[in-house]
């Protein structure tokens, strides 16, 4: 069992409240996922000439030194904001060169997300603690996904927590379990996809990354996933402009969606959506099995 939440704001006036909405939904899903929590947040897109990355360091870290080193080695302007164990870096450089440099020069850092708008934060521990630690109520944005994890299949660590990055400005959260992830992981590694843990959801994320790299649209990739991924799942996929939802054909894993004039939301259970203003009068429905749903600006 795990909890998934997603919120997409139609009304820009609500952007400053995004973090507060997400926090309330995430805490409500604590029973479904007490082991770890994580979010992907989309805000303040940087121009094409720049890139934004979220980095994670285990334990104390000298972020100031990293910023100085990056600026001089990459010959770029670097802005770095620390939030708990994570830092968001904005650099006026090509994203691939920044990623390559970080991987070779700072293997101790984990790249949580890369793109122009996405930021990913995740940590083990109960959702309420996560919300406090990452000061979720202060975070603004246009849309976000969240996940509360009850680990059933691999270890409880920050690395095993969701969301998983699936490429530029893309991420995936998952409620369920995949049964063919070991074979699929081998296939993906042969295709050159970097998979770091033994977690099944990371394989789903890697699968999407591979398909998108091969030129599939997100919708094509998800429709192909219906054939290639065996197991039970509800996926929510964050994109730069919105989010997508997919349930497996059996659809045992729950999902509910709601829409008002102000927002679109999805969750594992209605009680998370009930935290949002106007939820009582929202249009509410269950996403159909094996059907791709997408929202975007």
């Amino acid at each position: 069992m795990c909890g998934i939440v997603g919120i997409y704001l139609k009304n820009e006036d609500l952007y400053p409240e995004l973090g507060g909405f997400l926090a309330a939904m995430l805490v409500e899903m604590s029973d479904r996922g007490p082991d770890s929590a994580g979010i992907a947040l989309y805000r303040d897109p940087v121009p094409d000439s720049s890139c934004k990355l979220t980095l994670h360091a285990a334990g104390e870290y000298d972020w100031d030194a990293l910023r100085t080193e990056m600026a001089s080695r990459l010959k770029s302007d670097v802005k770095l904001d620390v939030l708990a164990s994570h830092a968001v870096v904005i650099a006026s450089a090509q994203v691939a060169s920044v990623q390559d440099w970080l991987r070779t020069q700072h293997p101790e850092l984990r790249i949580m997300s890369a793109g122009s708008a996405i930021e990913i934060y995740k940590e083990k521990g109960p959702p309420r603690e996560f919300v406090r630690q990452f000061r979720l109520h202060e975070l603004n944005g246009s849309h976000a996904l969240g996940h509360t994890r009850m680990a059933t299949e691999s270890a409880v660590t920050t690395e095993h927590s969701h969301p998983f990055s699936t490429g530029m400005d893309l991420c995936l959260v998952h409620n369920g379990s995949l049964s063919n992830h070991n074979r699929l992981r081998r296939t993906l590694r042969d295709e050159g996809v970097d998979i770091q843990t033994d977690n099944d959801s990371e394989v789903a994320a890697g699968y999407l990354m591979w398909r998108l790299r091969e030129g599939d649209s997100l919708e094509d990739a998800l429709n192909r996933a219906l054939k290639d991924l065996d197991g039970f799942y509800t996926f929510a996929i964050g994109t730069k402009d919105g989010f997508a939802v997919l349930r497996d054909p059996i659809a045992c894993k729950p999902a509910v969606m709601a829409e008002t004039d102000e927002w679109v939301a999805m969750s594992s259970e209605f009680r998370a959506i009930a935290q949002l203003p106007g939820a009582a009068n929202a249009t509410i429905w269950e996403p159909a099995p094996a059907t791709v749903y997408t929202w975007g600006h």
Partner: protein
């Protein structure tokens, strides 16, 4: 009339009241999608819930008449024994699962596996149902005024299914059967009793071909 506001009263307090000293009518406000609201009642009370409920609402109900003015999460009226449960909105998966008696009325649509393993309950859905409804259904009636998803009545025993709209692929051992005068009469009474408006002549009946669940001695040599 007793009133519970679930923004201030816990579900546990509500359910304890319903188990200990229920009488007359009772209203529940601000359900907020919480789980297990009004479960395990065994008294002739009327409970009205104003809003959307979470998992397992009205589970194991005996005697009580429960109305949900909203949508219901998974497993509404699971294992209902008697009385009635009415959902004014939509119901999520496995509504009325393994119900033994009484009636479950869903005024909107029901999701997948509606009436799974039902054992005597009458379920009337004014809208449509998702796939694998009446899976392993043993006894009782599932009435679908809209359409039914794929694999309807898979591995069905002796329950009866009535569908007014379209049916996807039928489940294993589920076949269309003749609507006899008795079936028409029984369905007419059920629709009237549950207050669902539909022309009884528009329905088709489905049930078990009885080829799957009995071991057939003539096939002993096949194994």
């Amino acid at each position: 009339m007793a009133a519970f506001d679930l923004n201030t009263d816990s579900v546990r307090v509500l359910n304890q009241h319903l188990h200990d000293s229920p009488s007359g009518t009772l209203s529940v406000t601000n359900p907020g999608g919480r789980h297990c609201i009004a479960c395990g009642i065994d008294a002739p009370v009327e409970v009205s819930i104003d809003g959307h409920v979470g998992y397992y609402c009205a589970g194991m109900n005996k005697q009580a008449k429960i109305t949900i003015a909203g949508n219901a999460g998974p497993g509404v009226a699971e294992n209902i024994m008697s009385g009635s449960v009415r959902v004014k909105g939509n119901a999520s998966q496995y509504a009325g699962a393994s119900g033994r008696g009484g009636a479950l009325i869903i005024e909107g649509d029901a999701s997948t596996r509606c009436g799974i393993s039902m054992k005597g309950v009458d379920i009337v859905v004014a809208g449509s149902v998702g796939h694998m409804s009446a899976f392993l259904a043993q006894k009782g009636r599932l009435v679908i005024c809209g359409d039914a998803g794929d694999f309807l009545g898979d591995s069905i025993y002796e329950a009866t299914i009535y569908v007014r709209g379209n049916v996807g692929e039928l489940g294993a051992d589920c076949i269309e059967k003749e609507m006899t005068a008795d079936h028409v009469q029984g369905l007419k009474q059920l629709l009237a009793a549950t207050g669902v408006a539909a022309n009884v002549n528009d329905f088709r009946r489905y049930g078990s071909a009885r080829k799957l669940y009995n071991f057939n001695i003539d096939h002993a040599d096949d194994y």
